[in-house]
């Protein structure tokens, strides 16, 4: 691993993967001819070019000299993703008010300088604000409280 540019290699492999997946998904679509293209013509051409780019970038990464794995701050990533997931899971069941509370409290912990009491106050005010703005002022069709 000593001489490999890891981010470039990862991106190259990603491109190859996406291109290959696309080729599989469109394998049953007709190509057509250049004059009368079928549904599969352009996507297939794109997928092939993407794979070639992936191979090129990945190949270059093997020779390009060492660049290590980029630092990923897992805590904010996991908590923000978790907050978004909670929103999708809870909204249809709990309504906007309680969902907002859960989302804001979860997301709040993504920051290193989170303060517990402040986070609760922020969550309560944002939940009230969201209900007021989106349901009452903008009239979005959202349930405010848990649906039975």
């Amino acid at each position: 691993m000593g001489r490999i540019n890891v981010p470039d290699l990862a991106f190259g492999l990603f491109l190859v993967g996406v291109g290959a997946l696309a080729l599989v998904l469109i394998s049953d679509l007709p190509m057509g001819t250049t004059a009368r293209m079928g549904a599969g013509y352009v996507p297939r051409a794109l997928a092939v070019i993407i794979i070639l780019f992936g191979l090129g970038l990945g190949g270059r990464a093997l020779l390009a000299g060492h660049v290590g794995l980029p630092e990923i701050a897992w805590r904010p990533l996991a908590l923000i993703a978790g907050a978004v997931g909670l929103f999708a899971l809870l909204l249809p069941r709990l309504g906007l008010a309680l969902t907002s509370l859960a989302v804001v409290i979860t997301a709040g912990f993504a920051s290193h300088d989170v303060r517990f009491r402040e986070n609760i106050v922020v969550a309560l005010s944002l939940a009230a604000f969201a209900v007021g703005l989106f349901v009452y002022a903008l009239g979005l069709p959202l349930a405010i409280w848990p649906v039975r």
Binding site: A22, P43, I50, F53, I72, I80, A81, A88, A107, S111
Partner: protein, 499 residues
């Protein structure tokens, strides 16, 4: 005079109380976003996009454009006072603007930034109004081949402007094009890459991608970086620059406006590039270049004029040709399509009220901005004291509600989450999301025009070179690519992005 009657039509639309209110709301939100570091205008427009669906199209577009050029004003405030660019186009304003603030001249620096922006905004509005009509005549001559070539040029332009490796940016464009093709093929009615998921039949939603990549992903990455927001606690007094300073700035403002107006129109151009270029030029022509970086007032006036002019003239390709030149314009296309407006030259003739209304609102918005920015500067500065840990949970919540409200489906939230994770991956491997979103928007349009052109020419690829306008556009693309690959330019480009 056509121009005058057109502008009269526009002002009649822009001056209705409803549109004035949305213009004001747009520029206020824009200023806010510009002032607060860590919230980009593109994120804000993506988040607010779904909430504009219920508005009349003109009001929605007036507000969204206000956010964009308003952010250019707000960004300079943070740049000057805190030495933090609230906005990528304000990076160069930090250099001399913050030095001026340290020397106790924060007032004149802020004032000249606002004046230069207003001057540039006024000129750019006139340029948009005058250039639009002839350009739309040209656009009527466009067939599928020209449209395809123009989009190739636009995508190449977005690659040229991406930070980092051009190869990665091209790969991102290609990925965007591919993802844009998910859904039912319009020509044959066959589903493509839909994984048999019903929701994907109409294609991947534009809002979940934009919010996921620009809202959630950027946020998650930004939170991993240490935050430094020590505020320079200078009292902003005696706002007005003296005559000597204004005289020194006039030519700088004019040059900045010219540079910004030209670079803004170019595909891939826009506010950030314009401000860099204007600063470089100003330093070159100055008799005393050694003052730059130490509080030269021209070093504030020129880039501020340029970024505002560039922000506004980047609307020209969108409004006249229907081609977005940068990622923010891609969001505007998304907004137009959601309102049932197919962007392109026909907008001007079919919906003159909408077209000229947006243009007129830009000047009104600039006028509002100068009023908002100068007397209310203290208010904006105090906003900088709001801790980020309070702001970002609100952003997460609004991203979720915004995405959900497009079609009331949690499927879109799942998509947003997926693209947020992908966005973090892209940022971490050094591939920028902006070319992706442009490719995504242009994908279906490009395929349609490519297929139509090939259909008409019976499969002869040379058709793109046989038609003069198309050939010229492709030659320009090639020139751009050559310039990108040339080592000298690459070094220079890296140097610019380093600053």
């Amino acid at each position: 005079m056509d121009l005058i009657s057109n502008l009269a039509t526009g002002f009649a639309v822009a001056l209705t109380p409803l549109n004035l209110a949305f213009c004001l709301m747009g520029v206020i939100i824009g200023t806010l976003v510009g002032v607060l570091p860590g919230i980009a205008p593109i994120t804000t427009i993506a988040i607010l996009l779904p909430f504009t669906f219920t508005l009349p199209p003109a009001s929605a577009l007036i507000m969204l454009s206000g956010i964009f050029y308003g952010a250019q004003y707000g960004g300079s405030t943070t740049a000057i006072l805190v030495n933090l660019p609230g906005e990528s186009s304000s990076i160069v304003t930090c250099l001399d603007g913050h030095q001026m603030a340290r020397q106790g001249r924060a007032g004149p620096a802020l004032a000249i930034a606002a004046i230069a922006s207003f001057f540039a905004g006024t000129v750019a509005t006139v340029i948009i109004a005058t250039a639009s009509v002839p350009l739309s005549w040209l656009a009527i001559k466009f067939t599928a081949a020209e449209y395809f070539s123009l989009m190739v040029l636009g995508l190449t332009g977005s690659v040229a402007l991406a930070h980092g490796s051009p190869a990665k940016a091209i790969a991102m464009v290609l990925l965007g094009l591919l993802f844009g093709l998910v859904g039912i093929d319009v020509n044959t009615g066959l589903p493509r890459m839909t994984l048999n998921i019903g929701e994907l039949g109409d294609g991947i939603g534009f809002v979940p991608i934009a919010i996921g990549m620009f809202g959630i992903a950027e946020l998650a990455v930004a939170l991993g970086r240490p935050q430094d927001r020590s505020l320079l606690s200078v009292a902003v007094k005696n706002l007005w620059p003296n005559w000597l300073e204004i005289r020194a700035c006039l030519p700088a403002m004019t040059r900045g406006t010219a540079i910004g107006s030209i670079l803004g129109v170019l595909p891939g151009g826009g506010a950030a590039l314009s401000s860099f270029a204007a600063y470089a030029v100003e330093k070159k022509v100055s008799a005393t270049p050694e003052r730059f970086g130490k509080g030269a007032i021209e070093g504030v006036a020129a880039p501020e004029a340029a970024n505002n002019a560039g922000a506004q003239t980047s609307f020209i390709p969108l409004l006249t040709l229907g081609i977005p030149g940068n990622a923010i314009m891609a969001l505007m296309v998304g907004a137009m399509m959601i309102h049932g407006i197919q962007p392109g030259p026909q907008v001007m003739t079919a919906q003159p009220e909408l077209f000229w209304g947006i243009i007129a609102s830009m000047w009104l918005g600039n006028l509002m901005l100068i009023v908002l920015n100068l007397p209310l500067i203290g208010l904006w500065v105090s906003l900088l004291r709001v801790p980020y840990r309070i702001l970002f949970p609100a952003i997460v919540l609004f991203c979720c509600i915004g995405t959900f409200s497009v079609s009331n489906s949690t499927f879109d939230i799942a998509l947003m989450l997926l693209f947020a994770v992908a966005g973090v991956f892209f940022i971490k491997v050094g591939a920028e999301p902006a070319p992706f979103i442009l490719g995504f928007i242009l994908g279906p349009l490009m395929e349609e025009n490519f297929r139509r052109a090939m259909n008409l020419s019976r499969g002869n690829v040379l058709v793109f070179l046989e038609r003069p306008i198309s050939a010229a556009l492709l030659v320009a693309t090639l020139a751009l690519l050559v310039v990108l690959i040339l080592p000298a330019v690459r070094a220079k480009r890296e140097e610019v992005f380093q600053e």
